[in-house]
Symmetry: C2
Subunit: 141 residues, 2 copies
């Protein structure tokens, strides 16, 4: 019988380290391929046969909300995920879908008249085009 009223509010602050989540984090760690949820599901399923899409999406959304990973919108078809949350930019091949990091020398500043009104949370530069391999293939055909 609780004589003490020690209700803590379950405000969802704890992150449980389940094997599924650890497997997803392990797959993402150092991964520069900018995988989609499906890529991650397929990769992690090889180890965890019971892995479900729901778990992958739940985990990715939780991690993104926590700022542990970044959700990219550069691919018009599906979300892509990036474990590198440092400031950098991307280049995507519109033919094969490959996404490459751009880590050097690109900085952008919002013009002052907008910067006054708008609270900037993040910025991102994206390049679209054809990668070396796909350029070759196109010439060939």
């Amino acid at each position: 019988m609780p004589t003490k009223h020690d209700h803590k509010k379950g405000m969802g602050t704890s992150f449980k380290r389940t094997p599924q989540r650890l497997a997803i984090l392990a797959y993402l760690d150092g991964n520069t391929s900018h995988p989609s949820a499906d890529d991650i599901y397929r990769a992690v399923s090889k180890k965890y046969h019971s892995m479900s899409f729901a778990t992958v999406y739940n985990t990715l959304n939780t991690l993104a909300k926590a700022g542990t990973i970044r959700e990219l919108t550069i691919d018009p078809v599906r979300k892509r995920f990036d474990p590198d949350v440092s400031r950098h930019h991307h280049l995507m091949c519109v033919h094969c879908g490959k996404i490459v990091d751009i880590t050097e020398g690109l900085t952008v500043d919002l013009p002052k008249e907008l910067a006054q009104d708008f609270e900037v949370l993040g910025s991102h530069i994206e390049f679209h085009g054809h990668c070396a391999q796909c350029k070759k293939k196109r010439k060939a055909s």
Copy 2:
């Protein structure tokens, strides 16, 4: 029906100027709201009661392929469309979804070592954050 713009089609196919397409083009002309397909559907349906989503999507895809409009991926939930195909960038409020044009002074160049391999078709800078109105509302609550 004559329009002021001549579309050169190429590809051996002709672009038929149907009333539905003209209505979509009229709605987009000078529009800086970066509407989604659904926004366009709802707006144009008021005039054309029989308008279908298929026609909206078909038309938008045709126009985007022809380079008459631009498809934006800045919104993670749905595609947004921009009749301004000149080089400019965008800022989006993550709270209300509003997208604003940035036309001044931002230029980006791909680092040389990437520029050699990669054929750049386009580049785009995007800022995410809170607009003035949503900033206020957040403070208030």
